[in-house]
């Protein structure tokens, strides 16, 4: 019998609800929803590193940006590129960048790792910002979105906000499913072992370097998928998408949702994007709306000081309490958690 727990039912309900959204939502909410799902994919990829492998990368926006730039650079000026060509190319470029940088940074640990990932991300930022390669600091416009054709007809038109919403939803589910599978496979268990005790894993005989590099590359590739979708949605890339504000933002999403839980990354992404909308709403904050980073910064400080396990942590604690109560009422011990 497949083991379906209550959170999975929640997940299923959420997906069904999301699938119904385009029927009644305006373009603004469709785009906001798609943005949340894209950021959720981005946050999921970082959670693979931070929450599941114990590698705190502070340069994750680099791979997001490399994929976005790949799409912008291979899209012709006035016609649509093929989705089936550009998507793998963008993901491969992000994965390759992560492999190359990972080869250097995975040798370091702890605080070195944080600084070195940040520094290499800034290197890519400098390349796109200072050279003519990616249009310099002005960036590049993607005038025509990629075309998703399948055997002669177009199942999803990316120019339509509703259909783009579905594409983002499908890809989010696919990434969630894939990461869930990987984390429960021997590879994922080895990563968990490395997070808990790297020395022990090494002495058992696991090639720790290769596992970490694999996780780093995979995370880079998935971040690339998010970057590709973001470039599709906004039709525009500039160096800021791989700047460290972006890396800090996705880190915040993972923490906000509580790291080490895939659903946490999704919750965190949604919470962050909505908070940003809230703080930058000029209806609520008037002239200070353009200084929304002040409120966001203050919130970050407060959350770090007050909520060590993120917002997702509160939900988890409540969940566990409920579990204990149930177990006590039934007079049995707590069974294995799912």
């Amino acid at each position: 019998m497949t083991h379906i727990t209550l959170p999975h039912w929640f997940l299923l309900a959420a997906v069904l609800l999301l699938a119904l959204v385009p029927l009644g939502a305006t373009t603004f909410y469709l785009q906001l929803g798609a943005k949340i799902m894209i950021m959720a994919i981005f946050a999921l990829s970082l959670d693979l590193l931070i929450g599941h492998t114990g590698l705190v990368s502070f340069g994750h926006a680099a791979y997001f940006g490399v994929a976005a730039y790949t799409l912008a650079l291979i899209t012709p000026k006035y016609e649509a590129a093929s989705f089936w060509l550009t998507l793998p190319a963008a993901i491969a470029a992000a994965g390759l960048a992560a492999l190359a940088i990972g080869f250097l940074v995975v040798r370091t640990a702890g605080v070195y790792f944080i600084m070195v990932t940040l520094a290499f991300a800034q290197m890519l930022y400098a390349i796109f910002h200072d050279t003519k390669l990616g249009g310099g600091s002005d960036g590049i416009y993607i005038n025509v979105r990629p075309e998703l054709t399948l055997a002669g007809f177009t199942p999803l038109d990316l120019e339509s906000p509703a259909q783009f919403f579905y594409l983002a939803l499908i890809l989010l589910i696919a990434v969630y499913w894939l990461l869930n599978k990987i984390l429960h496979a021997p590879f994922g268990r080895a990563l968990a072992g490395i997070r808990v005790n790297e020395q022990r894993m090494r002495s058992i005989g696991f090639p720790v370097f290769a596992y970490k590099l694999g996780a780093f590359t995979l995370a880079g590739a998935v971040a690339g998928l998010a970057g590709y979708l973001a470039a599709c949605q906004f039709g525009f890339v500039n160096p800021e998408i791989l700047a460290w504000h972006q890396s800090g933002m996705v880190l915040m999403m993972v923490i906000l949702g509580g790291m080490g839980r895939l659903h946490g990354a999704v919750i965190g992404a949604a919470a962050y994007v909505l908070l940003q909308e809230f703080f930058s709403s000029s209806a609520l904050f008037g002239a200070y709306a353009k200084h929304w980073q002040l409120s966001m910064g203050a919130l970050i400080v407060i959350i770090v000081l007050a909520l060590p396990h993120g917002v997702g942590g509160i939900i988890d604690v409540a969940w566990r309490r409920r579990g204990y109560r149930q177990a006590r009422n039934n007079g049995i011990g707590e069974n294995g958690n799912g």
């Binding site: 931070i50 705190v56 502070f58 250097l104 940074v105 040798r107 370091t108 702890g110 605080v111 070195y112 944080i114 600084m115 070195v116 940040l118 520094a119 290499f120 800034q122 290197m123 400098a126 390349i127 910002h129 200072d130 050279t131 003519k132 460290w244 800090g248 880190l251 915040m252 923490i255 790291m259 200084h291 980073q293 002040l294 966001m296 910064g297 203050a298 919130l299 970050i300 400080v301 770090v304 000081l305 060590p308």
Partner: protein, 285 residues
């Protein structure tokens, strides 16, 4: 002659980086806190100097007042916020100090606007030394080099020859043991943090007349400090000095040889050092 000028620039730049990165590496070495907001304090120093110089009309008054204010800000931040980070994971230190960056950057935008400002070079130093018929070197840059050297020497003296320095070294090598021997650790930490902030602000203040005072100036310099600390080895002042000069040299050389790719030179240097000595130049594995 051209290369002499570039060399002087490299040394001046390297020493300025040293003022910044020594604070960063000390704060990490002693308190185990990775402080992303360090670059923002550089920015704070530059903007305070800009504002105070405009208000008082005197740079020599603006710099000490600005540094004193920065010191006070450092003390305040340490006792209210940073203190709570000592026992936390690096991840949370990164996140919280990232939040501080956002706050400081927006406060800067609210108080000083988003324009690029300039600070006038003081009268006394506002001339250039002629080297050849066409080339000359601004005296203010020499003055900055001298000041940085002076501060570096004072810092060496304080750390190696005074009682306070002894406590700092003790705290750096073993926090618990130093506390057990009666060192007032909370006070020491607060002072070291505030001194680090003041050093960063001082670097920003004296650099203000050379570079422009602009948004984002702190972030750029923070990354350079990280590169310096990674190359030199965390917690090592000597490593920071060596690495600062190397980074200053690599950056200046890069700007001369391949201007478009100059931003990449220092990262290539860092990549090479990482492959060769992942623990940094000064640290033993």
């Amino acid at each position: 002659m051209f290369y002499l000028i570039q060399l002087l620039n490299a040394v001046q730049y390297g020493l300025l980086l040293f003022l910044l990165s020594s604070g960063l590496t000390l704060i990490f070495g002693i308190m185990g806190v990775i402080n992303l907001a360090h670059g923002s304090f550089y920015m704070v120093g530059a903007y305070l100097t800009y504002g105070l110089a405009k208000w008082t009309g005197n740079l020599w008054l603006a710099i000490p007042i600005g540094v004193a204010i920065a010191f006070a800000i450092g003390l305040l931040l340490e006792t209210t916020i940073v203190q709570r980070l000592y026992r936390r994971d690096h991840l949370y230190q990164v996140l919280l100090t990232f939040g501080l960056i956002l706050i400081l950057e927006e406060l800067r935008s609210i108080f000083f606007g988003d324009e690029v400002h300039g600070v006038a070079v003081p009268e006394v130093f506002n001339y250039s030394l002629p080297l050849t018929e066409t080339l000359s070197y601004p005296v203010y840059r020499l003055f900055v080099t001298a000041i940085c050297l002076f501060v570096a020497i004072v810092m060496y003296f304080v750390i190696h020859r005074t009682r306070a320095g002894m406590m700092i070294r003790a705290g750096n090598s073993n926090r618990e043991m130093a506390a057990a021997l009666g060192v007032n650790i909370p006070l020491l930490f607060a002072l070291v943090f505030a001194c680090g902030v003041a050093l960063a602000a001082f670097a920003g203040a004296i650099a203000a007349p050379i570079t422009s005072v602009a948004p984002g100036m702190g972030n750029q310099v923070l990354i350079l400090c990280f590169v310096v600390v990674v190359i030199g080895g965390i917690g090592s002042i000597n490593g920071a000095l060596l690495a600062s000069l190397l980074v200053g040299l690599a950056d200046t050389l890069g700007k001369v040889l391949a201007p478009e790719y100059s931003g990449v030179a220092i990262y290539l240097l860092m990549a090479a050092i990482l492959l060769w000595r992942p623990q940094g130049l000064a640290n033993r594995s």
